[in-house]
Amino acid sequence: MFNRTKRFGAVSLVFAMLALSGAAAAYAQSGSTKDRWLHVRVINSDNKGETVRVNIPLELAENVLPTINKDHLHNGKITIDQAHLNEVDVHALLNAIRTAKDGEYVTVQGTDQDVRVAKEGGRLLVRVKDNKGSKSNKSDVDIKIPMHVIDALFSAGKDELDVVAGLHALALMGDTELVSVKSEDSTVRVWMDSKNVSD
């Protein structure tokens, strides 16, 4: 009897440890915002060969942005000038995209540019490819923004972009590439990961 109780206790302990380690692993997987870094890298391959690297901890950006009150930026939110929206109801548009199924929304194949706007795996994808112009002027632009980041950005109100909420939503994601621009003489990359260096 004593042995059975002891065995039961040991098994319970093992289960408890497994449950705790599982929870810890899940927490580690989700990651805290502290170890998320936003990286921007611009490489120009012209004769000056300029390279710009910016590495910003997301938590730092989240906490510092609300303290800046200058021009259109107030308390971590950017006021959108309605004049630039051309009467487009962005919230209604986003709501329509959110509720719609994955798929291609816009595909324009022109002589100047190919444009593709799609929703795939919870992300809004925008791809612009130049077809015309000299080789050095051609560029490929890829933008991949998670839908919940877009939701967070537009969560403040009709005329505002909540940058801090957007960053917070971004910080909860895994490693991801957000923007990529490639042309003959320059490449731009914006991405997020848990490393504090860009290369």
Partner: protein
């Protein structure tokens, strides 16, 4: 025997003073102009004396500085607080054929290094000092 005791007392006082003075690190400014007659400025100041120096700065100057920098004080304080969490980080780097600009944190200091043909500037100061300066400026905002 008495002399030895006095010497020991003096040595330990100097050692204690040195440790106390440098406990918060050093603010370092190096400017070098690599040309004939170019200036070379090298300033090393213990970070500990900055709050003391600010304390003895005439009130009107402090108020004037605080008034000018007022909108940015919360940002500077928050930035200093956040940067302390990242003691080793390369925040911004711009490199081209001739120039190199780097802003990074290293060993709990904020370092700004600029190299360009004929000139280099290095500024390094403990992040904690930044917080302390902004704190003192906040206290000197007129009407605060």
């Amino acid at each position: 025997m008495l002399l030895a005791k006095i010497a020991l007392g003096l040595a330990s006082t100097v050692a204690f003073a040195a440790v106390y003075t440098f406990r918060e690190g050093v603010i370092r400014v190096d400017v070098d102009e690599f040309r004939t007659g170019g200036s070379h400025v090298h300033v090393w100041v213990p970070a500990t004396i900055v709050p003391i120096a600010l304390h003895f700065t005439p009130k009107c100057h402090m108020q004037h500085a605080a008034e000018n920098i007022k909108p940015w004080i919360p940002t500077i304080r928050q930035l200093a607080k956040e940067l302390e969490k990242y003691p080793e980080a390369n925040l911004v780097e711009v490199i081209d054929r001739d120039d190199h600009v780097q802003i990074r944190t290293h060993g709990g200091k904020l370092q700004i290094d600029v190299h360009e043909p004929g000139e280099s500037v290095h500024v390094a100061f403990p992040i904690a000092t930044l917080e302390e300066i902004s704190g003192q400026l906040t206290e000197n905002i007129p009407g605060a």
